[in-house]
Symmetry: C2
Subunit: 582 residues, 2 copies
């Protein structure tokens, strides 16, 4: 490919609307173009990166006995009605009607389509286990697309579904997939991805893991134990809390607190720390608008994922209107007005004397002891683990919170979909059983953006050899020099004959322009041919990651370059082998 003919624009300046580096560099480098909110077109360099990622995924899925299939993007609503998700999933599921008024949805995940595909095939136990996967476009009507390809509405995803006759068999297969995923990320150039326990959310099921690329710009929070290595998405991490020592019970007492509206203000007024208070966080059910009050210790935050999963319905932050019996700023767990759904976090049990709202304008209580004062109440874990918190695995106070981008996830789904969609097989005794499912997803574009986030400098992406749009970037400095041009043209052809992917910049532009374009395209090996080097009988070879800068004799350049490419590919292969041995 000649750079001169590469469709797409490159920009010197960082676009002002890009919050993260990978987004900015992909716009600057002519990788993609904005079409609509969360919807992008891809230019050739990104398409090539994504196709290489797809091929890596395909090989690893085939290696664990996956069969590539294809599900539709547009699905009949009836399939989602079978599973119950047509109503249970919120507005991220895009619903529409065709010319005959039939209800359709855009596939945002394909459990239903998959069960529909294999329901008749999998009717006897001898067919199991099996796994099918696809690499296909999905659409999720996200409320807040962000970060370029990190969170989009339309994306290409590999989604895989496995079917088993026992939990044990699922776990065996899950472990194979767990390793295959580690290999995929290592082969894509980011072996540093960590695996964390996660919440399975709307997918249903119990055990699930996320593959996280740790980076400050990630939108997920991950709790990692610095002592034992435990890691989990904060959404899924149990928040274990110690009882606060040295607090004596005292009588519950109402206090006049004019002009005090927040938990911070009441603690300041009483000269007590935040963890001796109980705050109220109010939500509403997304469908009915019913109010839900969550009571949690004043120093903690509500974990909305745990809360949603406990409630089993979608929630939104509350808009407290005049007809609501709740007294904004004075809400507390004691004497709560009737008819309000209340959820009590376990943290309320850690302190025997707390301040809280009195459900009366301008009044608070002090001395609340939840166990003594609140009758018939159950306590749940709906708060977020914090830095310095207790590790749910080793029990040490060694939790640190990091940010990460989720680049993949794997779920043990159980029988949620096979039961609701009535997929059964006859076991070896002739008894009907529901197959047990696993599902396994990777977003292709997000993975490309994550690699970019992990591997870049101020001047552009630094692509790993395995997924780079091209392997070699050949720059002919001074295209008007006949001898240099003849050599560069020949090198371009000879490298391609050897199967090397070359992008060739033979434009008549300044070397500076050439090199900054090369930096943006991030091709691993750069070869510079110039009249000055020609005189010394060599060309310059360097690596985009700055780990090598050398020259090669003109007649040895092809073999030197070929070796560098092979060596880089080999390093990545070894890294993939080693992540799984670990």
């Amino acid at each position: 490919m000649k750079l001169d003919k590469l469709v797409g624009e490159r920009f010197k300046e960082r676009p002002s609307d890009c919050a993260i580096d990978s987004h900015a560099l992909m716009i600057r480098g002519g990788y993609m173009k904005y079409v609509a909110n969360g919807i992008f077109s891809q230019y050739m360099p990104l398409r090539r990166v994504c196709r290489k990622i797809e091929q890596i995924i395909r090989e690893e899925m085939d290696a664990i006995d996956g069969q590539e299939v294809l599900f539709p993007v547009v699905l009949p609503a009836s399939l989602w009605e079978e599973s119950g998700r047509y109503t249970s999933v919120g507005s991220e599921l895009l619903r529409m009607s065709d010319r005959n008024g039939s209800k359709l949805v855009l596939g945002m995940t394909h459990e239903e389509a998959c069960v529909q595909l294999v329901r008749e095939y999998g009717q006897t136990y001898t067919k199991y286990p099996f796994m099918v996967y696809q690499i296909q476009t999905k659409f999720r009507d996200e409320a807040r697309p962000r970060g370029g390809l990190i969170r989009v509405r339309e994306f290409t995803m590999k989604d895989a579904y496995s079917f088993h006759t026992s939990q044990e068999d699922l776990e065996k297969y899950y472990a194979r997939c767990y390793d295959a995923y580690k290999r995929i990320f290592a082969r894509a150039g980011i072996p540093e991805v960590v695996v964390v326990a996660s919440d399975s959310g709307m997918m249903g099921g119990s055990i699930s893991h996320e593959y996280m690329l740790l980076t400050p710009v990630g939108e997920d929070s991950i709790a990692i134990c610095t002592d034992c290595g435990f890691s989990a998405n904060v959404d899924a991490a149990e928040n274990i809390l110690e009882k606060k020592e040295g607090i004596e019970q005292r009588p519950l007492e109402k206090v006049y607190t004019p002009n005090i509206h927040t938990i911070e203000e009441i603690c300041e007024f009483l000269h007590t720390p935040l963890d001796e208070s109980c705050k109220a966080v109010v939500y509403q059910k997304a469908d009915s608008g019913e109010y839900i009050v969550v009571f949690v210790r004043g120093d903690l935050e509500v974990n909305e994922t745990k809360l949603t999963s406990y409630l089993g319905c979608e929630i939104v932050p509350a808009q407290i209107t005049d007809d609501c019996p709740l007294k904004s700023g004075y809400i507390g767990p004691y004497n709560l007005p009737e008819g309000i759904i209340a959820v009590y976090d376990r943290s309320l049990l850690t302190c025997e004397s707390m301040s809280c709202g009195a459900n009366e304008e301008e009044y608070h209580y002090v001395g609340l002891c939840a166990q003594r004062d609140l009758k018939g109440v159950e306590y749940h874990d709906v708060s977020k683990i914090k830095t310095g918190g207790i590790c749910p695995k080793c029990g040490k106070k060694a939790i640190e919170i990091s940010r990460g981008i989720e680049v993949g996830n794997i779920f043990q789904l159980g029988t949620k979909y096979t039961k609701s969609m009535n997929m059964q097989y006859l076991d070896s005794n002739g008894e009907p059983q529901y197959p047990i499912m696993g599902c396994y997803g990777i977003g292709v574009g997000r993975l490309a953006a994550s690699v970019c986030e992990a591997k870049h400098d101020d001047y552009g992406v630094i692509w790993p050899m395995s997924i780079a749009p091209w392997q070699v970037h050949l720059c002919l400095v001074r295209a008007d020099d006949e001898e240099a041009r003849a050599y560069a043209d020949k090198l371009y052809n000879d490298l391609q004959k050897e199967g090397i992917e070359v992008i060739y910049d033979d434009r008549n532009v300044r070397a500076g322009v050439m090199f900054s374009d090369a930096d943006l395209l991030g091709v691993p090996v750069r070869v510079v041919v110039s009249p000055r080097n020609m005189k010394q009988g060599c060309c310059e070879i360097s690596l985009r990651d700055k780990s090598l800068q050398t020259t090669a004799a003109l007649d040895e350049a092809v073999s030197v370059i070929k070796n560098i490419v092979a060596q880089k590919l080999d390093e990545i292969k070894k890294s993939a082998d080693s992540v799984v041995e670990k």
Copy 2:
């Protein structure tokens, strides 16, 4: 791949709802599954066929300097409003709204998205020409999906768009693409595809061609001149008609014709042939409901494509209601009621004395001479060419009508999209100009189904080696025989090591079951290992198309099979080279 583990069901019987063979065989063979009207999932064998087709297309597009990109499936309505197609395209364009009420459409073609992608890039003449293409899912809300993958609503398509600074340059590129398409179909195993001139329909533009696989089950009609080889879609073929000799003018005369309602009845009543009559065919504008009457010679049919293109609006067959001034059964061109849109076919000029309706209940005219009796009327070509018609190229009466499946199309679009979407470049004089576009489409699934339609017998598909799901189908007859199994297992592994794609049937089933499954999968080379053959020191090798049946010594089987595969691939390559030399 072991057949035993291949997900999908195979059926002995032809499903009753399949009108054409390719559809029936693809259902019977476990290639695909119905999901909704015109929407299918693909099992692994079809996915593999389609991926091979995609790769052939990709290679041929790359060879004519195409750059692979990716446009979104979901597009903002605003893009289609720019081109005017948001309103001009009918209900096959699926329109919907997202969670914020923004209007979206599902991409059924991507001219708009493409212009949006390259509009800023292509601002100076030095960037031209260029071509970008994608292979992506499309959705077209067809009124009548049919024939399995032949006419679906959701499909994978390769669509390419080229941009030029002159008509001459477009034509040069168009010719390259014309050849590339011939190569693609030859490489997919159907070099017999014919190229026909076509109507460009809603795409706009002028010159266009369709690639047709001639088959009685095709939904397109193609006019082919048996003398000069001219070919065109009937929709696009000019209908040249001779003046009927020996007809004398006579006065226009009203005749009482009770109980006569059709043109056949009036001709029978008058004892005149159909080509001495003028019939009326009534339509309505799809949007406004206005009536349109087309007058055409009694023996001809209206060509709705030509008519739509002349009118510039969508039409539907008319529902004549009581308040309509038209007298159903008695409509004629003379004294037509006011306010009716009338279209006059050129065929009316071929006969100087015709019968026709009198626009009055129970009356007809005889002796109509259009040129004499109809004032201020223009004549257009809106009728269909028939078998025996005059070739528009050589002028001989040598037209035959065949049926065909359109497997690809290429269009010279002109500036329709660049003008409406305001894409301009500065030419070498610094003057702003609109680029001239071409576009080029191939439906991947339809091509797979067409190959199946062209290459099958009663027992299954006969895949060409280049796109077969696997290259070799290895059957182990009597899986319980230890020696035979050991050999077959080794052959399976050895062939795969040689890069041959093998599907291996080692099930403990009757040979008949095994072979009928093999017929359905249609893999080109079949290898049978059985205890009986083992005794003779050989295995059986045959071709699915019955052109070869042989045996190979056990230690030579790998090389014999490898040679057959290579030879078949080579034959296809040569066929692709020869279609273009023609």
